[in-house]
Amino acid sequence: MAVKEVRDAVDIPENFERLQEVIDEYKGKSGSLIPVLQKAQEIFGYLPLEVQKKIAEGLKVPMSRVYGVSTFYAQFALEPRGEHTIGLCMGTACYVRGSNKILEKLKEELGIDVGGTTEDKKFTLEATRCLGACGLAPVMMIDENVYGRLKPDMIPDILNKYR
């Protein structure tokens, strides 16, 4: 298998140009910090400090506030993430129907803990809040796709689709 050279998102100058466009669009509007951080994360995949600094300067808000908001919300990542994000639902309905066993299987298959990213940067594993698909419990999402009525045995095949 050919090894694809992975350039970190912060090494690509166009990414900062796109970020500047976002900042220009929101500059001066109230309540714009969260949408700007959301768009920045779409561009970079995560929110490294230099991106946060750029946003603080651009929107003229203190760096402490940008960092405070970035670390407060679960959606924002300060470290690079894997190519695919696995969100296993740990809502109550899934929990009483055995999502714990699914979590153990995922950890075993991927060799990482919750919040971790696999060495090959393929997967990031997260335990999410209720996905609102309780009828199919236990449920997980890989990127935008929902997998329901899970049993531990099903996990390897599902992961293989993304490998």
Binding site: Y73, G91, T92, C134, L136
Partner: protein
Amino acid sequence: MDIFRSHILICRGTGCTSSGSDQVADAFDKYIKEEGLEQEVKVVRTGCFGLCEVGPIVIVYPEGAFYSRVEEKDVQEIVKEHLVKGRVVKRLLYQESLDKDRIKSLNEVEFYKKQMRVALRNCGVIDPENIDEYIAMDGYKALTKVLTEMTREQVIEEVKKSGLRGRGGAGFPTGTKWEFVYNAPGDKKYVCCNADEGDPGAFMDRSVLEGDPHSVLEAMAIAGYAVGADQGYIYVRAEYPIAVRRLQIAIEQARNYGLLGENILGTGFNFDIDLKIGAGAFVCGEETALLNSMEGKRGTPRPRPPFPANKGLWGKPTLLNNVETYANICQIINKGGDWFASIGTERSKGTKIFALGGKINNTGLVEIPMGTTVREVIYDIGGGCPNGKAFKAVQTGGPSGGCIPAELIDTPIEYDTLVKIGSMMGSGGMIVMDEDNCMVDIAKFFLQFTCDESCGKCTPCREGTKRMLELLEKITEGKGEEGDIEKLQTLAMNIKDSALCALGQTAPNPILSTIRYFRDEYEAHIKDKRCPAGVCAALLNYIILEDKCKACGICAKNCPTNSISGKPKTPYVINQDTCIKCGVCMDKCPFGAIIKK
């Protein structure tokens, strides 16, 4: 509008979409085209029908044939048999809907019989991405009525008369809230919708937004007229991408029709709505934390008073209601407050949507008149627990609520009765638990949740939830001591009294209610070092039954820690010192020879 001889309604709520309803809908398009029926049969992609358990769901009208668990490969048969030849494909029908040879109407099916759909009236009926279908169902009639026939005071009076109380959890009278904002001095006011549905196991707001987004937009415009606001915001979770997309489409269509924006219906009334997308924080469902988040700050709560009605978004008077509350408004205006007040009980009017989940046969979404008993919901509508297991308790109100045990199953569902028995209405999640669920473990689960989601601003919640969680961990690990239950109770009461916002004030509820009704389970963990339900791993041993073991060796092969040993023809043995109690051996044993004790 074209006239079609048949309508095919396909559920595209989250549950059915996850089960593959998109592919089913596309297949219908394809085969209908192949048969040349495009002018005769219309495919409608709707919101949630409620019975997520048997999705994807397809309903064909005029017969009302209710097809369940439809797969892509079944579609051609339905088209060829049902639509071309007029023969219903019985094999694919939801079996409950078949009465010998007759197809029952939806209202006769057990799951729907006791339901009454007010807030969900259009879910599963119309295409949520098409404003014309909403208008055809009397959509925007209520807005027209208030703008042309009613004064602002009359609107508030009608909502007060209905007795509607907030559906987000606390149950504050909606009309009174509107009046507060109406009376609040200020040149600029806002109308906000709390769509940050974070309670695990509750997905009614999601279904309303996905199935009938215009009903919320219209209600917000009515609220804007009543309280004197010209701008609305919907704060919606990022975890609900379909809801976000449908709201965006709905707002765009309403603007194009002149139903949002400037000079609505030529009456001089201006009102517009924008979306604010959340970034993942449970505490943002709390109203003051939500306002902070909308302003782009950390979502920590503010002390109250001042209440949002006086000082809300950017310090301006702000009306904040949740999705389901708004979804009732148009019906109240159209049919009158008296009509709404005639449904339900003395102090809880109208209907309430519940999300049934956990150990129950018919998982899904149900809307029932207030006052329906828990038993009717669990057994008549929900079909009881699967696999013949005994019903133990139902948890309502999420991490803020409590458990209703089997002996109180005849309790009517009302705001006040639920609080009296130590639970609460909450946003409407109902998680059913059977004999296999450990109540101490459930309390620990909720405490892990609130501990994680505590924003850290006030000490009682930040430190207190952590201490309570530690005590529960100690108990479930078999290290519990005499007096731990009392320690938990004291701590719980202190936190209830001193936390800043509802998250902290209600965080102890799951503990208090499980101690109240399942104290014996706590005591078994502490005194006997035993988990009666067989859940808490540290208190369990897996044992191979000698008389049932056929010495096949499957358990040993699957054991991740090589803790099982044996020889051919003699029963295998588990080494309890190295066993990590994962339970794989029990799952894999083909003879049922392994038990946990």
